[in-house]
């Protein structure tokens, strides 16, 4: 399994090589949601699904309209809802069913601007529904800057936490006889991480820090380090471990190594770093269904200055999607 390719967006169309049967992306208040779509040749996309969160502000409408128009008649909107995970799952499921064919299909998924929860649900559906002969490629556009223009100590992505819940499709097997081990893949949002810890009061706490060499930018590594330090300062009993922000298989190894160090615990993972590392968390749960993934909803996002798109993207496949074990 080769690590993700880090390539200029301008070369993405060449890298993809040929037609894509199904392209899935998510509209967002971030202009990053257009980066991949703009880099593709729309005539080579047989079907495009543009996911749109019903709960997002109307400023997202123009982005979704743009994305839908870019792929013209071959596109359809998939309504998601960040407050209603069942609605998100049902819509995604309906979309995937509508494009199912007997022949093997190629899927390209732009994971950049999905919420972590919607992405995890989508990944589970792809794992469950796709045929082994299908192929899925993921693409992720990093941000050159988050919380654009703010000083490092003032950077923020979201404020306020609504509900903390298990992610649909990843209930885990939380056994009443075992103690709990909370694994946090920390990112920019130390307060959100704090809430997880407060909510679960785990017996063992592992606080993942994005490995500096895997960060999508040195500036992000610095902010992540500062946020990580904040969490550690509050929870001195937490154990720090390094994980990859840009290679899902390395993320898997890091999480699994950490879990193995504390056997016999109920493992809960809160992925809060890049969407690439979130895929790593999903793969850990695919491999071990006793692992529960959890998610905290946010009340407010830094809509106007959330991110500035990078000019490069990461392109990769993962071995478990589609599931190789599934019979055709």
């Amino acid at each position: 399994m080769s690590p993700p390719e880090h390539i200029p967006l301008s070369t993405l169309a060449t890298q993809i090589q040929g037609e894509v049967d199904v392209f899935i992306c998510s509209a967002s208040f971030e202009s990053r949601c257009r980066s991949v779509a703009d880099s593709l040749d729309p005539t080579l996309i047989r079907w495009a699904f543009v996911c749109v969160d019903e709960d997002l502000p109307t400023s997202t409408d123009s982005q979704s309209e743009y994305l839908l128009s870019r792929f013209g008649l071959n596109s359809s909107m998939v309504p998601l809802n960040r407050e209603k995970p069942l609605k998100t799952a049902d819509s995604l499921q309906l979309a995937l069913a509508s494009c199912a064919r007997e022949l093997p299909q190629t899927y390209l998924v732009d994971i950049t601007t999905f919420t972590h929860e919607a992405l995890l649900i989508l990944l589970r559906l792809l794992q469950l529904r796709l045929k082994p002969a299908d192929s899925v490629t993921f693409v992720y556009t990093a941000a050159s800057e988050y919380s654009v223009g703010d000083k490092e100590e003032n950077k923020w992505l979201s404020k306020g936490i609504g509900e903390i819940r298990s992610v649909l499709g990843y209930p885990g097997k939380v056994l009443p006889t075992q103690k709990s081990h909370l694994v946090i893949l920390a990112g920019f949002e130390s307060e959100r991480a704090e809430r997880f810890i407060e909510e679960y009061e785990p017996n063992v706490l592992s606080i993942g820090l994005g490995a500096p060499d895997s960060s999508t930018s040195p500036a992000h590594a610095s902010v992540s380090k500062a946020m990580h330090s904040r969490i550690v300062a509050q929870h001195k009993d937490g154990v720090t471990f390094l994980f990859s922000c840009s290679d899902p298989m390395r993320t898997v190894t890091a999480i699994q190594d950490r879990i193995r160090q504390v056997p016999g615990h109920n493992v809960l993972i809160a992925p809060m770093n890049t969407k690439i590392s979130t895929i790593g968390a999903a793969l850990v749960a695919f491999d071990d269904d006793s692992v529960q993934l959890c998610y905290a909803t946010a009340h407010q996002y830094n809509e106007t200055n959330y991110s500035k798109p990078d000019t490069n993207c990461y392109l990769f496949t993962v071995p478990a999607i589609p599931s190789p074990a599934k019979a055709t």
Partner: protein, 603 residues
């Protein structure tokens, strides 16, 4: 922690009670059940309190290992057998269960899930109790019960698989292990079924057994309870943090409460004051005291100040002793002596002048009432760089913690860490300057950063945003007003509370409720102005005393306010406090009118 805790570890570190050994519990736990007498008694009880108010610690102490040590008794001789059931956020509240909402199986499957979870924990408790059975008679009895009663109960609930056969030589704990394993496997089976629900819209037939409270859990517990190794008293199911149940599970728990099974099974339910509903699964309400008794920890300790002071004194003494620090709490947290001397001097002068200018019944009343406020008022010069009031000294710290032990221990832990950082050698006391600094930082964090944090959590719509804005304004207006009263020449200057002089409007009440939920106010009641009944009383948290420069040591004063006054405070706090400064407090608030028989204050 253990008995030989090293001197370097922090005596005030807050620990999760689940992880504390019975022996450490015996050393650390202060018996508070005289304050909360309903908890160790037969009967269903709700125990409400914010995080850190000691709920889990109480529950942990009720567990058999702690009780056996405390009472020097065997399990069979205990007055009850308590099963600790911690409910974490996603233990039972799985997103998959939302698939069942509004479907007929919702109640049945949720109840089965809860029952199985509790059954596993019940047998875990029996195993942990490690009951003495050297003659093997208990094991023999339980082996007999297993083959006869237990397996029949399983079968009646639809268990298809044949339960494993117990070895004829199985010990008591080996029997319990086998029984627990049966429920653990069923628990996994339920989770596997729920997993299948993730991505289906139509119902999937549930193939497994179904266990309810009345038809399964209750008889199971009753049958086990009848054995000689169990106490004769009730089984307590201690459900900790029941706010973490989903709405369906909450209504089911209420249905169990309504069942009046307390002689055999008493439900002790703790909440962080966000319990979802008091409706049962059939839509009836459960009420106190009819169906259960109810305890609000904050109210108990804010209304009985000496009791709380005594409790904290004992808790701190035990922690100091455990860390081999040979000091009393007062010695370890000394007051700022220069300040105390000055206050004593003012008190002396007040006593001297009492004959000519006295206001209280006794000279000492004037000294108690006015010496500290006069001292604080004397510091309020135009210069901001002058001396400030020092929030230091054990008793003052206890008052500031506002009836919640965590708010004493957490700052104390920070003070200890700070002392270790600035001094070499063992810490034998906390410098009053360090005490003051930590308490001030905590108070500011409570009003500003902490407020920002939770109000962002609340801000899911405009109305919620508006409420948090009003609450912040109200706190500022009341804090500012209470400070003005402290500086005034009023007969009672140590005011922390507002009583409602008329029925509160719903919007006003909602703002206060939000404040109570996040610990900025405590709610109580007091005799109304007319002396014909009682009215609501809201007490500002003493954790805020340093922000508004208030004297935290008093529990005395309150003012009556109308809806319109409170509404103004919520909308225009600066103008409100300005008016008080210019026109005096009586312009906005009424003082309590004492009737022929003075109402006993219940703040």
């Amino acid at each position: 922690m253990n008995q030989d805790a090293p001197e370097t570890s922090n005596p005030f570190a807050v620990q999760t009670p689940e992880g504390i050994s019975a022996r450490d519990m015996e050393s650390l736990f202060v018996n508070v059940f005289t304050d909360f007498y309903n908890i160790p008694r037969e009967g269903h009880t709700f125990l409400h309190g914010p995080r850190g108010s000691g709920k889990s610690m109480m529950f942990r102490y009720l567990e058999p290992d702690c009780q056996c040590l405390a009472l020097r008794k065997s399990v069979a001789d205990l007055p009850f057998f308590a099963v600790y059931i911690s409910i974490k956020n996603t233990d039972l509240k799985l997103t998959e269960l939302m698939r069942l909402e509004n479907k007929h199986a919702n109640l049945i499957l949720n109840e089965h899930f809860m029952v199985i979870n509790i059954a596993v924990k019940f047998f875990s408790s029996l195993i942990k109790a490690n009951m003495d059975d050297h003659e093997g008679t208990c094991a023999q009895a339980i082996r007999g019960y297993y083959a006869d009663g237990f397996c029949k109960l399983l079968k009646r609930s639809g268990w298809q698989e044949k339960p494993p056969v117990l070895s004829p030589t199985a010990t008591l704990n080996e029997c319990f292990f086998v029984m627990r394993e049966i429920f653990s496997e069923q628990h996994s089976a339920v989770l596997s079924y729920l997993r299948k629900l993730s991505f289906v819209d139509s119902p999937i037939p549930y193939p497994g057994p179904l266990c309810g409270y009345l038809d399964f859990l209750l008889p199971l517990i009753q049958q086990l309870k009848s054995h000689s190794f169990m106490p004769r008293g009730p089984i307590f199911l201690l459900l900790d943090d029941a706010d973490n149940l989903n709405a369906t599970q909450t209504s089911l728990l209420n249905t169990w409460v309504a069942c009046r099974t307390q002689a055999d099974v008493s439900l002790k339910i703790s909440t962080q004051m966000q319990y979802k509903t008091y409706l049962t699964a059939t839509g009836q309400t459960i009420d106190s005291p009819h169906d259960f008794s109810e305890i609000h920890i904050s109210s108990v300790y804010t209304s009985r100040k000496n009791k709380y002071l005594d409790r904290v004194k004992e808790i701190v003494s035990r922690r100091l002793r455990m860390h081999k620090i040979d000091k009393t709490p007062q010695e370890f947290f000394p007051a700022y002596e220069k300040q105390e001397q000055a206050i004593r001097e003012i008190g002396r002068q007040l006593r001297e002048r009492w004959n000519s200018e006295g206001r209280g019944y006794r000279a000492s009343d004037d000294a108690v009432r006015y010496a500290r406020p006069d001292y604080i008022a004397g510091l309020q010069g135009p210069s901001k760089s002058g001396p400030t009031y020092k929030y230091a000294g054990f008793e003052q710290l206890v008052h500031i913690s506002s009836g919640i032990i965590r708010y004493f221990l957490e700052p104390a832990s920070m003070m200890y860490a700070e002392m270790r950082a600035i001094r070499t050698g063992p810490v034998e006391f906390i410098d009053p300057i360090v005490q003051d600094q930590v308490v001030r930082d905590q108070a500011n964090a409570f009003l500003f950063s902490e407020f920002d944090r939770w109000s962002a959590d609340e801000a899911d719509d405009t109305e919620a945003l508006n409420q948090t804005r009003k609450l912040r304004n109200l706190i500022k207006a009341l804090g500012g007003t209470f400070h003005q009263i402290l500086l005034s020449n009023a007969s009672e200057r140590r005011v922390f509370s507002i009583a409602l002089s008329e029925d509160p409007d719903e919007d006003i009440l909602d703002v206060f409720r939000l404040g109570v939920r996040y610990g900025y106010f405590h709610e109580s009641s007091i005799g109304n102005k007319e002396g014909t009944g009682r009215t609501r009383l809201f007490v500002l948290s003493r954790r805020l005393a340093p922000v508004f420069i208030l004297d935290p040591t008093s529990f005395a004063g309150y003012k009556f306010a109308t809806n319109s006054v409170l509404r103004e405070a919520m909308e225009k706090p600066k103008t409100f406090v300005g008016k008080i400064r210019r026109n005096g407090v009586e312009a906005a608030f009424d003082s309590p009118q004492l009737g022929l028989f003075q109402q006993e204050e219940s703040e």
